[in-house]
C-alpha cells in the first residue's frame, strides 16, 4: 500500500502510468458526452412545465457537479501535499483550479440562460446561483494567491491552505445562503427541485454527468503531465525524454 503511494508520488512513474490511462478517459468522455448530448437534446421528452428550455440541465447540472467536486478534490490534494509532501498532488491541484473555475462559470452562465425563459430575467439572486457565484470567487482567490508568490513552494502551500479553508467554508456558505434565500424568497422555482424525473429524462443526465467527470480526469491528467515536464525539466529522465541529453 505505502509502496504504491510512494510510487504514485514519483513524477516519472505518474508520467508513465498516466500516458496509459489518459486515452481511455478521453474516449470515455467523448463517447459519453456525445451520447448524452444527442439523447438529451434530441430524444428526451420535453418538460410539461418548462418545455424544451429544461434541456439546459444537461449542461448545467454536470457543470455544477464538477464545479463543487473539483474544489473538494483540490482541497484533498492540498491535504495530501501538505501532509505527505507529494508533489504530484500539488501539480494536479494547480492544474485543476482553472478547469473548476471554468465549470463554475459554465454552471452560472447556463443558469442565467435558463433564467431568461423561466424567470424572464438573466439574473436572479437565487440561492443556488448565489452560492455558485461565491464558489467562483473562491476559485479566483485560490488561483490569484498561487499566482502572487514568487517561490513555487510557498505558492503551493499557500494555495493548499486556502483550498482547505475554502472547503470547510463551502457547506457553511451554502447553508447560510439557502437560509438567506428562504427569508427573502422572490420565486419558488428552482432548477433541480422538480417532480421526480422520468427515466428517459434522467438517464441522459446521468450519462452527461459521468462523461463530464471523465472529461475532468482526462484534462487533469493531460495538464498534470505537461506540468510535470515543466517542473522536472532539469531532471535526467525528462531531458532523456526530450532527447536533449548528450
Amino acid at each position: 500500500m505505502w509502496a504504491f503511494i510512494h510510487k504514485l508520488g514519483s513524477p516519472k512513474w505518474f508520467y508513465d502510468i498516466s500516458a496509459r490511462l489518459q486515452p481511455w478517459f478521453w474516449v470515455l468522455a467523448l463517447a459519453l458526452i456525445a451520447v448524452g448530448t444527442v439523447w438529451g437534446l434530441a430524444f428526451a421528452p420535453a418538460d410539461y412545465q418548462q418545455g424544451n428550455s429544461f434541456r439546459i440541465i444537461y449542461v448545467h447540472v454536470p457543470a455544477a457537479f464538477l464545479a463543487q467536486s473539483i474544489f473538494v478534490t483540490m482541497a484533498v490534494a492540498g491535504v495530501i501535499f501538505m501532509v505527505w509532501k507529494i508533489k504530484i498532488a500539488d501539480m494536479a491541484a494547480a492544474m485543476m483550479a482553472p478547469l473548476g473555475a471554468a465549470m463554475t462559470f459554465v454552471a452560472l452562465f447556463s443558469g442565467a440562460v435558463w433564467g431568461v425563459p423561466t424567470w424572464g430575467t438573466w439574473w436572479m439572486w437565487d440561492a443556488r446561483l448565489t452560492s455558485m457565484l461565491i464558489l467562483l470567487f473562491l476559485y479566483l482567490g485560490v488561483i490569484a494567491l498561487r499566482g502572487a508568490f514568487a517561490s513555487r513552494d510557498s505558492a503551493s502551500r499557500a494555495a493548499s491552505v486556502l483550498a482547505m479553508v475554502g472547503v470547510i467554508n463551502i457547506p457553511i456558505i451554502k447553508y447560510s445562503v439557502d437560509w438567506w434565500y428562504t427569508l427573502h424568497q422572490p420565486a419558488s422555482f428552482t432548477l433541480t427541485e422538480r417532480p421526480a424525473m422520468p427515466t428517459e429524462m434522467w438517464l441522459p443526465l446521468l450519462i452527461m454527468v459521468v462523461g463530464f467527470y471523465c472529461f475532468f480526469i482526462a484534462v487533469t491528467l493531460l495538464r498534470t503531465r505537461s506540468e510535470i515536464l515543466r517542473r522536472e525539466a532539469n531532471k535526467r529522465w525528462v531531458r532523456e525524454l526530450a532527447g536533449g541529453i548528450r
Binding site: 490569484a144 494567491l145 502572487a148 510557498s154 502551500r157 499557500a158 479553508v165
Partner: protein, 246 residues
C-alpha cells in the same frame, strides 16, 4: 516614530518574560499586552477604520437618497457591509509591522504554539477594531434612521460577528503578509469567506426591526465564532509559517 516605539516596547516587554519556557498563559498575555501597547501608541492606526466606517456610511445617503424611509430599509445591510469593509481594511496591518521588523520570526521561534500566539494577536485586532466598530455603529444607525429597538442588537451582532471576521481575515492576512502588494488580493481571498457572517449579522438586525426572534441569529453568529475559534488559529499559524519561509 513607530520604529523607535517598537524597539522601546520590545526591550520593556522582553525583560520580565525572557525565560523561554513560560506557561501558555504567560505567553498569551505577554503577546496580547505587547500588541495592545504597540497599537495604542499609534492611535491614528486605530482610528482609521472608524473614520473609514463613518465616511462610507456618509456616502450612501449622498449616493442613493436622503429619504429616511428608504434609508431605514437598507440601513442594517449598509451598516454591516461598511463595518465589514472597515474591518477588512485594517487586516493588512495585522502582521505587517511584525513581518517587516522580524518580530514575527521571533514569534515563530518561541516554544509556545504559534496558533495560541496568533490568537492573542487576533484578539488585539478585535479589541481595537471590531469592538470599537460595534460601539460606533449605533451612532451611525441614527444617521441612517435605523428603526428604534434594533440598536442594541446592531452593536451586539457586530461585536460577535467582527470577532469571526478578525479570525477569518487573519488567515488571509497571514497568507499575504509576505507579498509586497497583498492588499487587493487579501480582500479577494477573505470577502467570500465573510458572507455567512454578513448574512446572519445583518439578518439579526433585520429581525430586530421586524420584531422577530433575534436569539437564533445571535446563536448562529456565536456558533460561527466557535467554529472559527477552533480552526482559524491553526490555519493562521500554518499560513504564517508559509509566509516566513517563502
Amino acid at each position: 516614530m513607530p520604529a523607535t516605539d517598537r524597539t522601546a516596547t520590545g526591550a520593556a516587554m522582553d525583560a520580565p518574560h525572557a525565560e523561554p519556557h513560560g506557561s501558555l498563559g504567560v505567553a498569551f498575555w505577554a503577546t496580547l499586552k505587547r500588541d495592545l501597547v504597540l497599537l495604542l501608541r499609534r492611535r491614528s492606526e486605530v482610528m482609521n477604520p472608524l473614520v473609514f466606517f463613518a465616511i462610507v456610511i456618509t456616502l450612501f445617503p449622498i449616493g442613493i437618497s436622503p429619504d429616511p424611509q428608504l434609508l431605514a430599509t437598507i440601513a442594517p445591510g449598509l451598516l454591516w457591509v461598511a463595518a465589514l469593509l472597515a474591518a477588512l481594511l485594517s487586516l493588512d496591518s495585522l502582521f505587517r509591522a511584525d513581518y517587516d521588523d522580524g518580530s514575527l520570526e521571533q514569534l515563530l521561534l518561541t516554544p509556545q504554539p504559534l496558533a495560541l500566539l496568533s490568537l492573542a494577536k487576533v484578539t488585539v485586532h478585535w479589541l481595537l477594531t471590531g469592538l470599537p466598530l460595534a460601539l460606533m455603529a449605533p451612532l451611525l444607525g441614527i444617521m441612517l434612521a435605523l428603526p428604534a429597538g434594533s440598536y442594541a442588537v446592531l452593536a451586539l451582532s457586530l461585536a460577535l460577528g467582527s470577532a469571526s471576521l478578525s479570525l477569518i481575515g487573519a488567515i488571509g492576512a497571514a497568507l499575504t503578509v509576505g507579498l509586497s502588494r497583498g492588499g487587493v488580493l487579501l480582500s479577494l481571498l477573505v470577502l467570500p469567506l465573510y458572507i455567512p457572517v454578513l448574512i446572519f449579522g445583518a439578518g439579526a438586525v433585520q429581525a430586530a426591526i421586524f420584531g422577530d426572534g433575534v436569539m437564533a441569529h445571535l446563536a448562529i453568529l456565536g456558533a460561527l465564532l466557535a467554529v472559527a475559534l477552533i480552526f482559524a488559529p491553526w490555519a493562521i499559524a500554518a499560513s504564517l509559517r508559509i509566509s516566513i519561509n517563502g
